[in-house]
């Protein structure tokens, strides 16, 4: 099992990173909060030029890797565009996929497309959905819009959405770690860099462990997708649980280490935290995602050294 991304995916990610940075990086999110049309006028053409919207998840493992790397790079700048929804939908950009809580169907950038495919976290059902008005415009829901659920169409594989969503958040958290390192090595208090304080070093170490752990799990989950369909949902949900846990811990520590400046809109950490919250809360947070994972483990198992004991043979 090779967890390294192929060179083609890495190259694609590097091209995308260059394009996103040249277009302003995290400033794209700042601009889009003021003028939401930035998403369709600036970002959509940029993604089209990269060929990003032509990527079809599930084509082959190289394409899946390219999609994952693209989402990671987009996450690093908090790109305000429903890239995960477009790349993971069986209908592509014609009808992006949104994972929703049926009682409160919402999608990030739900206002950008008229038609959506909506499904709950386990993919047991799906609905044709339509946009319902503009974005919430709240501080934590800048780009979230309500959807209206229509006709039910049967089940859909949502694991691609869940996996790409985790790659996006991974990119964000890797960037948060970089911001932390930059801050604690440059900010001086008591006559020395913050990084000289052991309590700060320990927090940096814990962030690094969390991020590395999520990175390995994201790589693993991506690589086993093509090998097995039976455990796909369990694997994806496990990655989502890890994603939410990691994000909560990394953002918490990152804010603590930055102090007040990390809460300001002028600081990238603040923007990255705010625009990531919808991915952590929709369609379900940590506990509800764990519940869904438990159900999935009971029905499909969970691959591990001794996991088979659930279904019979004793470990």
């Amino acid at each position: 099992m090779n967890l390294e991304l192929p060179d083609s995916a890495v190259d694609f990610g590097n091209s995308a990173r260059g394009a996103f940075e040249a277009a302003g990086g995290v400033d794209l999110a700042r601009r889009a909060e003021i003028d939401p049309r930035v998403r369709s006028n600036v970002i959509a053409p940029l993604l089209a030029d990269l060929g990003a919207l032509d990527v079809v998840l599930g084509t082959d493992s190289d394409t899946d890797a390219a999609a994952a790397e693209l989402c990671r790079v987009a996450g690093a700048v908090g790109l305000p565009y429903p890239l995960v929804s477009v790349l993971s939908s069986p209908d592509g950009p014609q009808r992006p996929l949104a994972l929703v809580a049926p009682a409160h169907p919402r999608a990030e950038h739900g206002d950008l497309f008229p038609d959506w495919l909506a499904a709950p976290l386990d993919g047991s059902r799906r609905w044709a959905a339509t946009a319902r008005g503009g974005v919430l415009g709240t501080r934590l829901g800048s780009f979230v819009a309500d959807l209206r659920l229509g006709a039910e169409e049967g089940p859909v594989d949502v694991s691609g959405f869940v996996v790409l969503s985790a790659w996006r958040v991974l990119g964000t958290l890797e960037r948060a770690l970089q911001l932390v390192i930059e801050h604690v090595t440059s900010r001086r208090q008591f006559g020395a860099p913050l990084a000289d304080l052991q309590s700060v070093q320990f927090q940096v170490a814990d962030i690094a462990v969390h991020v590395q752990a999520l990175r390995e799990l994201a790589r693993y989950t991506l690589s086993v997708r093509s090998a097995s369909t039976s455990s796909r949902l369990s694997d994806a949900l496990a990655l989502r649980v890890s994603m939410i846990e990691t994000a909560t811990q990394v953002f918490r520590s990152s804010h603590q280490l930055h102090g007040a400046i990390g809460l300001c809109n002028e600081h990238d950490l603040s923007i990255l935290d705010r625009v990531t919250q919808p991915a952590l809360r929709q369609p379900a947070g940590l506990e509800a995602t764990t519940d869904a994972l438990l159900v999935s483990i009971e029905t499909s198992g969970f691959d591990s050294l001794f996991g088979q004991s659930i279904h019979g043979s004793r470990a």
Binding site: V209, L305, R314
Partner: protein, 386 residues
């Protein structure tokens, strides 16, 4: 990185499980129980493993190894730890003493020691920690002074596992007070028998043989007992600790116990609080992650690119996972968690109680979690500034 668990590795895993099932009862909890027969069994089992070239699976054949891949050795490590280490005290020699000898030993040292480790015939212990040198290992005070035809070692070591039964000890001693304190240390291979050191066991919650004091009173060792360079011991210690940090596949026992418990509880699983079942599921994820981080280290070892930070990240993840799983399992058992192997009512023959006690040491042994965090931070901050 490429995790090369090929068909040979899978066959090896199946063979190991078969051998364990044939040679141990299901209530086996390791060599360090109150039943001395358990220790005898592990010594016999080591020889069986050695006969099939499985004990030192990845060592070169010229040193008595099986000539296998590091991935096969990883399988051995996982299966052994998952099944309460039926190699007994041997894992220390296999996990880091042998690799350190291969890396730093002279030809004569390799010829003398490696075949006996690979054959499961000898027990080693580690003389690093001292009463005044724990995490700050370079402050060690045990001295080795030159004498006619060799060295005289004097001082005290502590927390030394298996010292009572060991035939050899890897001893770190100060041989110079010049320069920085890391620079005056030499590592010696010291026989524990004859006029060797004195051992005093320390009673602990971990059980027998885990903790001892070892006293050296002008113990003589020859010049050929120096491992690596005189005053160059710190490099040996660092390398040894890197091997040791990833040597125990704690995640493997966690994995097995989480699943055994689920199976053992049967229908009553559904009576557990929902929050506890959620913790069980999340523990499974953390076990998977710890395993992946360990594989990352194995791949780096194979490529010769292993860093302190990589080894420490894997260790932090797996030791915290060990303690998390211990708590989840204990919560699931409630008052029955207090039964141990001597109680006929003990769930899983007391395996959970045994795991919980041993997990308390996970973030202390082989370098505390604080030291691991310092190593990680140093590396991450330095890389971030480049």
């Amino acid at each position: 990185m490429d995790y090369q668990f090929d068909e040979d590795s899978q066959r090896l895993r199946a063979r190991l499980r078969e051998m364990i099932a044939m040679n141990f009862d299901s209530d086996f909890l390791g060599a360090w129980t109150d039943d001395p027969n358990d220790l005898v069994q592990t010594q016999r089992f080591c020889r069986l493993l050695a006969d099939e070239g499985l004990l030192a699976r990845a060592w070169p054949a010229e040193f008595g190894g099986g000539g296998g891949s590091v991935w096969e050795q990883t399988v051995v490590r996982e299966e052994m730890w998952a099944h309460h280490e039926p190699r007994g005290a041997q894992y220390m020699g296999l996990n880091w003493v042998g690799p350190a000898l291969i890396r730093f030993g002279t030809e004569a040292q390799r010829r003398q020691h490696l075949p006996s480790i690979a054959a499961g015939e000898v027990v080693w212990c580690q003389g690093f920690s001292e009463p005044e040198a724990g995490s700050d290992l370079a402050s060690l005070r045990t001295r080795a002074t030159p004498t006619d035809g060799g060295w005289l070692v004097s001082g005290q070591k502590i927390w030394t596992s298996y010292a009572e039964m060991a035939q050899w000890c890897v001893v770190a001693a100060r041989t110079s007070t010049e320069g920085r304190k890391h620079e005056g240390i030499t590592v010696f291979l010291v026989p524990m028998d004859g006029d060797g050191p004195t051992v005093r066991p320390i009673a602990s919650m971990l059980g027998r043989h885990h903790l001892n004091e070892v006293f050296f009173d002008e113990v003589f060792v020859g010049p050929d007992s120096v491992l690596g360079e005189v005053n160059g011991g710190w490099a040996v210690i660092r390398e040894a600790l890197k091997f040791e940090r990833v040597g125990i596949a704690r995640y493997a026992r966690c994995d097995r116990l989480l699943h055994l418990l689920r199976e053992e509880l049967g229908e009553s699983w559904n009576d557990l609080p929902g929050g506890l079942r959620a913790r069980w599921a999340r523990a499974l994820i953390h076990v998977r992650t710890a395993r992946l981080l360990a594989y990352r280290v194995v791949a780096a070892q194979e490529a010769g690119t292993l860093t302190d930070a990589d080894a420490s990240i894997a260790r932090v993840a797996t030791t915290l996972c060990d303690q998390e799983v211990a708590e989840v399992l204990f919560e699931a058992l409630g008052p029955r968690a207090l039964d141990n192997a001597t109680s006929s009512a003990a769930i899983l023959h007391g395996a959970v109680e045994d795991h919980w006690r041993y997990a308390q040491a996970a973030t202390i042994a082989s370098g505390t979690i604080e030291i691991q965090r310092m190593l990680i931070a140093r590396s991450v901050l330095a890389a971030g500034n480049r």
